[in-house]
């Protein structure tokens, strides 16, 4: 564990752009289309990361966040 960067990895000047792209891409999509869009995006990113351990770690952190919400 602890290979996945969890401290800022994007430049502070780009984070708002990146966030905007992510949200904006869903404009006009139905929930089902959005879900599929996200799936395509995740698959592209997952392949770009290319390290199963990093991906596992990311899944783990994402799941942990969800738990703390409930």
């Amino acid at each position: 564990m602890n290979k996945l960067p969890v401290t800022p990895n994007l430049s502070p000047s780009s984070v708002d752009d990146v966030y905007h792209w992510l949200v904006n891409a869903h404009e006009g999509l139905s929930d089902a289309e959005s879900m599929r869009f996200n799936a395509r995006l995740i698959l592209l990113l997952v392949n770009a990361i290319g390290d199963p351990q990093l991906i596992r770690e990311a899944i783990h952190y994402a799941a942990r966040t969800r738990k703390s919400e409930t």
Binding site: I42, L43, L44
Partner: protein
């Protein structure tokens, strides 16, 4: 025996006579003469052990069951002396194509024989009844095998040294005492129930229609799979070529259907015509519906009762891991029980069957479950990911390997098995301990044929001496394929590996010594 009226007969065998009264004793009793029981009988019969094979039906059944037999199973058939007969009857194939919707080009394609120059193809299609037929005939020629069809095992009473069986025929009942019982009695295994064993797992809520039809067609011998084709919208479909102009069409139907109506010819034929064209000429061989489950028993070994085949593990058909997984059990059990019966290994050695066969079963269950989750997504999110993969696969090569229409059966490795000797040298690839040997031409023959079913040292110039009874095969006899062999095994001059009777590598060395080899041999026989 009364014949269950819903089972179609392929070949009538007839009820065997009952043995003369008195307590009968056998070394090995095999319960069930499906493909696994028949091959198991051959395995032990050919090794010279007395085998009694009991089967409830007095016939070989027809109908739609396994058709896809893996290269690994073909290698095992070769060792059982039936490889040529089976391969001659079947249709060989290597390539699978996956289609999506009405797109004419496959979104994904795979080759089941990525390493060429091997004796057998990646897969062979042949109906299970032909395999059973050929195994039955081969077993009939051996005096060591006593086959009794129409004989049902009704009770099993194990103790510390063996097992008492009660057997029933249409005329009579009798008892047999066996040193070992191998339960190859199928997915509903009465032996499993008699011993009160759980069969844990997961049921999938989906129905599939199999239409085995006869037609003249010039479709290539490849496995074709469709997601969401226009002829079966929202579902999947599969097409396979069998011998004798028979084709297997497989249509996913979903969960809430009228299963009886679904196999009625007036309902099947429109599906077939939608798939193959309105004017296609065909006749019905057999229509059936199947559902499936993934399950296994916790232990395959219960004292002197050993489970193998569907009685021990069940998988979904996507991946052809059912029967092929059963043959892997035979392969693993055969030489181990043989050594025990010869007094060359302790009875505790069978624990390694439990260990290794469960590794195989779990990998088969894992793979077939994952395929099923891709083919039949269980939630909206799961479906979104599946469809996203298919969408991306059209344009982006990275997404194609994600397409999962079944990961087809191959031999499974046991990297952590306790009877491996771990590597002490540096190897780059090659065949690691616990992995199956890759076939390769070696001096006008095939390596797997040369290895047979005994311990062998495959050496690159190492001269031994090898332990008693262990032959050294030198790769030097390969002549023109020497470099190919060196690449496949990552051999360098002086290297060697010890190969188990099931053709798995047990140990390998860059610079072997007689002491290292005999140590590894002891470990591989459960003596270390």
């Amino acid at each position: 025996m009364g014949r269950p009226s819903d089972i179609p007969v392929w070949r009538h065998i007839g009820e065997a006579p009952c043995p003369p009264s008195g307590q009968e004793r056998v070394t090995i009793a095999i319960v069930g003469a499906g493909p696994v029981g028949l091959a198991m009988a051959l395995e032990f019969g050919r090794r010279g052990h007395q085998v009694l094979l009991l089967n409830r039906p007095d016939f070989i059944s027809a109908g739609s069951k396994a058709i896809c037999f893996s290269k690994r199973s073909l290698d095992i058939f070769d060792r059982l002396g039936v490889g040529d007969a089976i391969v001659e009857k079947g249709v060989s194939w290597n390539v699978g194509k996956v289609f999506w919707g009405d797109r004419p080009d496959p979104v994904y394609q795979f080759d089941m024989l990525p390493v060429k120059e091997q004796k057998r193809p990646g897969f062979l299609n042949i109906p299970q009844y032909h395999v059973e037929d050929i195994l039955f005939d081969a077993a009939s020629t051996l005096s060591s095998i006593d086959m009794r069809f129409g004989h049902e095992v009704t009770n099993v009473l194990p103790d510390d040294d063996g097992v008492d069986l009660e057997v029933r025929t249409s005329l009579n009942s009798y008892k047999v005492r066996a040193d070992w019982v191998i339960a190859c009695d199928g997915s509903r295994s009465p032996i499993r129930s008699m011993l009160g064993l759980e069969f844990e797992g997961r049921i999938f809520e989906d129905n599939f229609l199999i239409a085995d039809i006869r037609m003249k067609g010039d479709h290539p011998s490849e496995r074709w799979f469709w997601f969401d084709p226009p002829f079966n919208p929202g579902q999947s479909a599969l097409m396979h070529k069998q011998p004798d102009d028979i084709w297997r069409l497989d249509f996913q139907l979903g969960w809430n259907i009228d299963r009886k109506a679904a196999v009625a010819p007036e309902n099947v034929e429109p599906l077939v015509r939608a798939m193959l064209g309105p004017d296609v000429e065909f006749s019905r061989e057999w229509y059936s519906i199947y559902t499936f489950q993934c399950r296994r028993i916790e232990r395959f070994l219960h004292g002197h009762v050993i489970f193998a085949g569907d009685s021990a593990h069940l998988v979904s058909p996507f991946g052809a891991r059912g029967c092929n997984g059963g043959f892997a059990d035979i392969d693993n059990l055969g030489w181990k029980l043989d050594l025990i019966l010869r007094g060359e290994a302790p009875a505790s050695f069978l624990e390694t069957y439990d260990e290794e066969a469960i590794v195989t079963a779990d990998e088969n269950i894992r793979n077939s479950t994952r395929s099923t989750d891709f083919i039949t997504p269980k939630s909206e999110t799961s479906r979104a990911f599946r469809d996203a993969v298919l969408e991306l696969a059209q344009d982006f090569p990275f997404a194609r390997p994600f397409v999962n229409s079944g990961r087809l059966s191959t031999a499974i490795s046991y990297p952590d098995s306790g009877i491996n000797t771990p590597d002490m040298d540096r190897w780059v690839g090659g065949v690691a301990p616990g992995s199956p040997v890759i076939d390769v031409p070696i001096g006008n023959r095939w390596l797997l044929d040369r290895l047979g079913n005994r311990f062998v040292v495959l050496a690159d110039g190492w001269q031994g001496p090898a332990p008693d009874g262990v032959e050294i095969i030198d790769v030097g006899i390969a002549a023109e394929t020497l470099q190919l062999i060196r690449r496949r095994f990552d051999f360098s001059p002086g290297a060697a590996c010890l190969i188990r009777p099931d053709q798995y590598v047990a140990a390998r060395w860059r610079t072997p010594t007689p002491a290292l080899v005999s140590d590894a041999l002891r470990r591989a026989r459960g003596l270390a």
